[in-house]
């Protein structure tokens, strides 16, 4: 009993996810860690290489523009053309900086993990039974290794023999040890974790260089980051918005000639850079990396960016009852006497029967009796015998001082007391039925032939969970509780928790069928799971979050791994997925809205000579042609830097309806995007004017 207990305790994990306890991978780092900043600065210059820039069409155009203005500045050196060149270059560097800083956080985490990997040594078991010491990095699939207390598990594998307590804090940050044993759902061990007790024999399941740790390093580092579908689509849109402004600017030169004026090429390039969506173009990849990073901060590893986006699209959440919706254990909530017995007598008998019962249910009975009637746990003398619970008797109890007390399933206890010559009280059955119907579990307590009463064990719904589900509903997400309970019990709990639907008496097949039918309606489904029998469903679900405590099969089937093994986190994952998209959308809107002000800054001044009447459009009253163009370019560059924190943190997300979110974002980023540059450009112009540069 004890080992599994430990397992469940760790499996429960922390309730909140924003707790400040020390984490393994996800060491909390400030947004602008000094070390990261330094590395990012170097990185932002290194990323200037055209080969890297060409992946980002928007910034590539800026880079080409910089080259053009530089050439022009060399040919006809003026302070203006050089200043423009410098600021255009800075625009590109700022964009690189944003990306480098986002990557930097992951790199730092990856370094820590890498150190852990390189130091490990393995004891490989040879066919003749002898051991040899080899570096962990040489292990391959199906090698057999031995780990004893104090050893680091050299690679991912499955326990084939023995049982041990394992400290997984290096990976999960969770300091409480977990139990790993051969067979069943708790046989997986992860490379890099530490065996605390006993000895286990592990069969390695990972190929060389493809361990969980390796994968994790790759993920946090963003080494093989691929663009997600929405990111690809957005990049296309941004390319369109870049391409369309090229003829706008080029044709302007021709239109200028018609009006007998010539627009300097530096100004044209400056105008082009101001018009193309550089703000979102510069921050796009940083947003993506930061989104993955936010998941890591939540101790979730997404095995693909696609899964993170899919999380934002989820319309149906399958949530396991135990551990997600309820605290995971039933707790005694009341003592109900039958016949002539009193409540106190029930409590006393129940407490006595539970003294040796170390299950959470048992302990909760002891605690409740103490709370209600001040019954203390009695010190027992020698003359007692505990009767443990077994699957055949379906009851447990104690024989003490000649009394035989049993508690357990109603029919089992009834049969037991009848065998002793007792008679079932008339009010027992209706009581048992009423409790069951309310979704609770009745435990009948009897002493010898006399049935004393019933303990009501209640599933305790987690505090605040129904608010979460309410928020989900507003976001248009349907929550389905999955439980092995019978329909009656399940419905009662579902009502209390506020979930939308229930899958009772769930088998893996039923779960799978539910996912498929939801998907057939075009919905995206997310679920959590940890057992091997969950694996097919995890693979079928659009977002499958495997618990880190779960089996290797489950972890491989899902597309995310929750290191905390906290099923409630599914809800956070959905929010992170949405936040990622919202941040992109909001900054795109902002970027496009900015163009209005930039037009008003630049167009009137460049034709001022031919058409002085266009001055009427210079509503910002910018100082001169040069200062107007300079101000727009400087604003365009600085806004990137100013928005890096937003890109990394993400736009604030509120769990509410799409319409409400949209309205809010359109106001802030659409209207704000129109107004902000008017203010910014004017300010910069005033500064330029004050310094007397232009």
């Amino acid at each position: 009993m004890v080992p599994t207990e430990l397992g469940t305790v760790a499996g429960l994990g922390p309730q909140g996810t924003g707790s400040s306890r020390a984490r393994g991978v996800a060491q909390a780092r400030s947004l602008f860690d000094r070390q990261i900043l330094g590395q990012a600065l170097v990185g932002s210059v290194r990323k200037l290489s055209p080969a890297m820039q060409v992946k980002n069409p928007v910034m590539f155009v800026v880079l080409v523009g910089t080259v053009v203005t530089a050439a022009e500045a060399v040919a006809h050196p003026t302070g203006f053309s050089w200043s423009i060149t410098v600021w255009l270059l800075l625009t590109v560097i700022f964009a690189n900086f944003a990306e480098a800083i986002a990557e930097g956080r992951g790199k730092a985490q990856a370094d820590t993990l890498r150190r852990m990997r390189s130091e490990t040594e393995a004891r490989r078991l040879l066919a003749d039974g002898s051991e040899e010491r080899v570096p962990a990095s040489t292990l391959t699939r199906d090698d057999i290794v031995v780990c004893q207390a104090g050893d680091i598990v050299p690679s991912d594998g499955e326990v084939v023999e023995g049982i041990a307590a394992v400290d997984e804090s290096a990976i999960t940050g969770e300091s409480a040890p977990v139990i790993r044993e051969s067979g069943g759902d708790r046989s997986a061990v992860t490379g890099g974790t530490k065996v605390l007790s006993d000895r286990i024999v592990v069969r390695i399941t990972a190929e060389r260089g493809k361990t969980f740790l390796d994968r994790m390093i790759g993920l946090v580092e963003g080494a093989n980051r691929q663009k997600t579908p929405n990111e690809v689509a957005l990049t296309i849109l941004l390319s369109v918005l870049t391409i369309v402004f090229i003829p706008v600017v080029v044709s302007l030169e021709a239109f200028g000639h018609f009006a007998a004026t010539s627009v300097p090429i530096v100004v044209l390039v400056a105008l082009l850079v101001c018009l193309i969506p550089t703000t979102i173009g510069a921050l796009l990849s940083a947003i993506g990396i930061a989104g993955m990073d936010r998941l890591v901060q939540h101790n979730v590893l997404a095995l693909s960016g696609r899964a993170v986006e899919a999380a934002g699209d989820v319309q149906t959440l399958l949530l396991d009852k135990t551990g997600t919706i309820t605290l995971g254990n039933r707790m005694a909530s009341s003592f109900l006497p039958v016949g002539d017995y009193s409540e106190r007598q029930v409590a006393e008998a129940a407490q006595l029967a539970s003294l040796a019962d170390e299950t959470p249910e048992g302990r909760s009975i002891v605690v409740l009796a103490k709370q209600r009637f001040g019954l203390r746990e009695r010190e027992l003398g020698d003359g007692h015998r505990f009767v443990p619970f077994s699957a055949t008797t379906r009851m447990s109890g104690i024989d003490v001082d000649g009394r035989a007390i049993r508690k357990g399933a109603a029919d089992a206890v009834k049969r037991w007391s009848t065998e002793q010559g007792g008679r079932t009280p008339a009010d027992l059955d209706p009581l048992v039925e009423r409790i069951a119907r309310a979704g609770s579990t009745p435990l009948v307590v009897a002493e010898g032939p006399h049935v004393i009463g019933v303990i009501e064990l209640k599933d305790v719904v987690k505090a605040g969970i129904s608010e979460k589900f309410e928020a989900m509903r507003r976001m248009g997400i349907r929550t389905v509780m999955v439980t092995g309970d019978n329909a009656l019990t399940a419905t009662a709990i579902a009502q209390e928790a506020g979930v939308d639907d229930v899958l009772a008496e769930a088998t893996p097949e039923a779960k799978m069928a539910l996912i498929k039918s939801e998907q057939a309606e075009g919905k995206l489904v997310a679920m959590t799971g940890d057992g091997t029998n969950d694996a097919p469903a995890l693979a079928q679900a659009d977002v499958g979050v495997a618990m880190n405590t779960g089996t290797t099969a489950a972890k491989e089937a899902g597309n995310m791994v929750d290191l905390d093994s906290n099923p409630t986190k599914l809800i956070d994952i959905v929010e992170i997925g949405k936040q990622l998209l919202i941040t992109r959308g909001a900054l795109t809107t902002f970027s496009i809205a900015n163009d209005v002000a930039k037009y008003f800054a630049i167009i009137p001044v460049i034709f001022e000579e031919t058409y002085p009447q266009l001055k009427a459009l210079n509503i910002m009253h910018l100082h001169s042609e040069m200062s107007a163009v300079m101000s727009a370019v400087i604003f365009n560059a600085l806004i990137i830097v100013a928005l890096i924190p937003l890109a990394l943190r993400g736009v604030r997300f509120r769990a509410t309806s799409a319409a409400a979110i949209l309205r809010r974002n359109v106001w802030i980023y659409g209207l704000g995007g129109i107004v902000a540059p008017f203010v910014g450009i004017k300010l910069i112009d005033l500064i330029l004017q004050a310094t007397g540069v232009f």
Binding site: F255, G585, A658
Partner: protein
């Protein structure tokens, strides 16, 4: 007051049309209307096709392109040999090569830009056998593409988007022919000419003048040119000509006819996607922008013409009368020209070239928005849907979900195609305008000096690039240079949007339908309407602001100056 009444009457008749014609068209394209099956069947047999033989988007597009190309070839040929053909009482010779090419491209692309004066260039045979035919066919093609795109939304997991031949035949037989015929009778009853008897010579004893008055089958050409949002009239002056547009009533009827299909097709869309609200949302997008432009332009035209005012003429009551007909008046004329520039029709009942700077700005920018408010027959809907997809994409991101429109996920392929569709028009118009103003052949065609000359050139290429066909007619565009440049402009403006629209139809039809939830960006809400309006205005505004600044805006701001 009469203007307000005209506007109100227009709203009422259009509301009725929207309801009736919209659902009728849905029934036609869903094959529920069959009363002309006896004509359809032999035609299908002749074309070796039928409603059961559905096409993939590629087949659909291929049929469309080959069909259009065949018409281009034949039409060009007929224009070149009209001197040897019957129905030519004025004994007009062949249409010159460049002009012939421009003209046939113009009519096949539903543009109806006219570099010729109808009464002095085209024989009756050409007007009937080439130009009028295209006024039916090009409109039917536009409607067919729109319907194909609507099917992309209404179908799920489908490899086909309908049959091109069936769609254009139904559009012609059930919709365009009957409406045009009835409207034609009304127009002639009001005074439009309809004869094949050639010009008439009359001596007026009252003033001693002898007139030679050109005539022709103008009434029935006028009706289809408006129903089909074509706009290419029989006479050079188009719908300012009293023989085409004799009374205030015909003027009103023309506006109604032009707007009826582009407006009603939003209802058809709603019906076919099983959510009339979605159709209404698009209708509101159209109506809001259209309304804004009507208000702006009519206000501008009610102001005095600056050159006339400078000559000491007080125009307080009349507004700008230069280039306008007495029987219509200033505001109704402005309303008329706005309806024609925003439907891709391009007919005019007053001279756009002589509009006040901001009046001309209203007409010009109305086209620059991509002809979606409500746009041409079919083309208005499919282009607006392209804009809507962009709006949905940005809006969808902002609510944190992969964007969906009517349950169809908007992904990389859709954004790419919609992007192409949005990009094409501004790109073509700006580049070709730049070419025109850079070359002597382009610059010298402008009639007016100063910024207005630039506006004339910009207007010409904007109009052709948007398949509108209206002109600031002072431009002398009947040159080899403009004939060819314009033809390129029109072909790209039509097919570079139409083909992505069909590809979009194919891509959407192949997708499954995702159910909407409160987490989905609601695409029938005021917010969607606002966002789509925003996208239309922003795409048009940002791409054309510099150009308009150098044209009408500078002209407007040039107080007290003449050019």
């Amino acid at each position: 007051m009469t203007f307000a009444a005209t506007l109100a009457a227009l709203v009422v008749v259009l509301a009725l049309t929207w309801r009736w014609l919209g659902s009728y068209m849905a029934a036609v394209f869903e094959g529920r209307v069959q009363f002309l099956a006896w004509i359809e069947r032999p035609l299908y047999r002749a074309l070796q096709t039928g409603p059961q033989r559905e096409q993939s988007w590629r087949r659909y597009a291929e049929s469309l392109v080959v069909f259009s190309a065949a018409f281009l070839g034949l039409g060009y040929l007929l224009l070149r040999v009209q001197g040897h053909l019957p129905l030519n009482p004025q004994h007009l010779g062949a249409v010159p090569p460049a002009l012939g090419f421009n003209t046939i491209v113009s009519f096949v692309t539903n543009t109806n830009w006219q570099n010729y004066g109808g009464e002095t260039t085209m024989s009756y045979f050409s007007q009937i056998g080439v130009l009028t035919v295209q006024q039916f066919v090009s409109a039917a093609v536009g409607i067919a593409v729109a319907i194909a795109l609507v099917r992309g939304f209404s179908r799920g997991n489908s490899a086909t988007i309908g049959n091109f031949w069936v769609d254009i035949l139904r559009a012609v037989l059930y919709i365009l022919l009957p409406i045009s015929f009835v409207a034609g009778i009304v127009l002639v009853g009001q005074g439009a000419v309809q004869t094949l008897a050639g010009p008439v010579h009359i001596h007026d004893p009252l003033n001693g003048v002898t007139q030679t008055i050109p005539r022709g089958p103008a009434g029935f050409m006028g009706s289809i040119m408006q129903v089909g949002t074509n706009g290419g009239g029989f006479f050079n002056a188009d719908l300012a000509h009293p023989f085409e547009n004799p009374t205030g009533l015909t003027n009103f009827l023309y506006m109604w006819l032009t707007l009826s299909i582009p407006v009603s097709i939003t209802h058809t869309f709603g019906k076919m996607v099983k959510s009339v609200r979605h159709g209404v949302a698009l209708l509101v997008v159209m109506a809001v922008i259209f309304g804004g432009w009507v208000a702006f332009t009519t206000y501008a035209e009610h102001q005095p013409n600056p050159a006339v005012a400078a000559a000491g003429v007080q125009q307080k009551q009349t507004g700008n009368t230069e280039g306008k007909e007495v029987r219509f008046g200033d505001t109704t004329s402005a309303l008329f020209n706005v309806t024609q520039t925003q439907t891709s029709d391009g007919a005019v009942d007053s001279a756009s070239d002589s509009y006040n700077p901001m009046g001309g700005f209203g007409l010009l920018t109305g086209m620059m928005l991509g002809e979606v408010t409500p746009g041409g027959d079919g083309s208005g809907l499919y282009t607006l849907l392209i804009y809507a997809i962009i709006a949905v994409f940005i809006g969808g991101l902002m609510v944190g979900r992969t964007p969906e429109y009517l349950g169809k996920k908007i992904q990389a392929r859709e954004v790419k195609l919609a992007g192409l569709g949005t990009l094409a028009m501004p790109l073509v118009v700006l580049v070709l305008t730049a070419v025109a103003v850079s070359l002597h052949a382009g610059r010298s065609a402008a009639l007016n000096a100063g910024p207005h000359g630039f506006t004339e050139i910009l207007y010409a290429l904007t109009s052709q690039g948007n398949n509108n066909g209206s002109a600031m007619a002072g431009i002398a565009a009947n040159s080899a240079f403009y004939n060819v440049l314009g033809a390129v402009d029109m072909l790209l403006g039509r097919f570079a949007i139409l083909i992505p629209a069909l590809a979009l139809a194919g891509s959407l039809a192949a997708k499954g339908v995702a159910p909407a939830s409160s987490g989905t960006f609601p695409t029938d809400s005021p917010m969607f309407v606002g966002l789509t309006i925003g996208v239309v205005l922003i795409v048009g505004g940002l791409t054309f602001f510099p150009a308009t600044a150098l044209g009408p805006i500078v002209e407007q701001l040039s107080h007290g100056r003449l050019f």
